[in-house]
């Protein structure tokens, strides 16, 4: 009797676990490799700027979004206050609002509990988001939260491992290799931001921001990122609007 009652939920748990593992497998692809490269760069940078392994690991798990992490490290390095740092990080992370607004309807099944979505949302970053949108058409709707948990959960755990490995091995590296690792973060973000900006506002903001960052850093180091973001973003958006009006 009890066997019969248990059979259905057990079958569902088995299926969930199977899709969880398929999510893990979806993380073992080129986007996952590129992200691991980026975390090698982040860990080298964190080590070089005096963060401990515990701090770097904590940033990986507790923030997870790499742009937010490097903005936070940049703010800390330039001696920003808690409020200024939080403001800069919040500005760099607003994109999660539209990202989740788009993802949640794809991931939610009629019986999905809200806390599952809130928990999974912490694991959302651009890599798993892009892969999820590619793979979801092949995943049954009731299995999408399990699939995403495997995909994004594995990416987080694996990259935490990357951070630990880099911290352990970096001291033994020759200078040329250390320098090469430190160049990963800027070139990674330059290419990833260019690839992910769908409108010319983002591309102009990227070009202006790259120049404004160092310029503002020389003038007002503690608010350099906020200044670069607000000025560069306004310019990018303003030019984008002007062009749109001329076209219309």
């Amino acid at each position: 009797m009890s066997d019969l009652q248990d059979a259905a939920p057990r079958a569902e748990t088995d299926a969930s676990f199977r899709w969880f593992l398929r999510g893990v497998r979806a993380a073992l692809t080129t986007p996952g490799l590129v992200l691991a490269t980026a975390f090698v760069g982040f860990a080298s940078l964190a080590l070089e700027e005096g963060f401990s392994l515990a701090e770097a690991g904590f940033m990986t798990v507790a923030i997870w979004a790499l742009p937010a992490i490097v903005v936070l490290m940049g703010a800390i390095k330039s001696g920003a206050t808690l409020l200024a740092a939080a403001f800069a990080v919040a500005l760099s992370s607003v994109r999660f609002l539209p990202m989740l607004v788009a993802l949640v309807p794809e991931m939610r099944a009629p019986r999905t509990r809200p806390w599952v979505l809130y928990l999974l949302s912490h694991f959302v970053a651009v890599t798993s988001w892009v892969v999820a949108f590619q793979q979801f058409p092949r995943v049954p709707r009731e299995m999408r939260t399990a699939f995403y948990g495997g995909l994004a959960g594995w990416l987080l755990v694996a990259n935490l491992g990357v951070v630990v490995i880099v911290f352990t091995l970096a001291a033994a590296l020759p200078p040329v290799a250390s320098a090469a690792l430190l160049l990963i973060t800027p070139i990674y973000f330059l290419t990833s931001l260019w690839g992910s900006s769908r409108d010319d506002a983002g591309k102009i903001a990227l070009g202006v921001g790259v120049v404004l960052g160092p310029l503002c850093h020389a003038i007002a180091p503690t608010i350099d990122l906020l200044a670069a973001g607000l000025i560069g973003g306004s310019l990018g958006y303003g030019i984008h609007r002007l062009r749109g009006m001329r076209r219309a």
Partner: protein, 116 residues
């Protein structure tokens, strides 16, 4: 208050939790809350995304112009060339990130090994 204002083991973690986790998760949670209820595309979001992009771009610029560690031992010209050539190759290769990253690295390493 700054990251190392007082000498305690927990302040950096609290700093990361507030300025990092809270400042990021608030948007993730709001996104779940509004998921499917508002349009993911709007003019306001284009503007907001532009600000976020410029902000991270500012970090990119700083990392190239004011690097730390061994990268600081290289010349600014070499770093700018490496990033510029890597980015150009990324564009030519049809936005393949790994190709762009490896090219920038190759230019930097070649430059470091060839310079006296």
């Amino acid at each position: 208050m700054t990251f190392d204002a007082i000498d305690t083991w927990w302040l950096p973690f609290l700093f990361i939790l507030i300025a990092g986790t809270a400042a990021t998760d608030i948007w993730r949670f709001l996104g779940v809350y509004f998921g499917g209820r508002i349009a993911a595309e709007s003019e306001l979001l284009v503007a907001v995304r532009a600000v976020a992009t410029a902000l991270v771009a500012g970090v990119i610029g700083n990392l190239v112009v004011f690097p730390s560690g061994e990268l600081a031992e290289t010349s600014l010209i070499l770093r700018l060339s490496a990033v510029a050539i890597g980015f150009a190759v990324y564009l030519v290769s049809g936005n393949r990130m790994l190709v762009g990253i490896l090219t920038a690295e190759a230019v930097l390493i070649a430059g470091m090994l060839l310079s006296p």
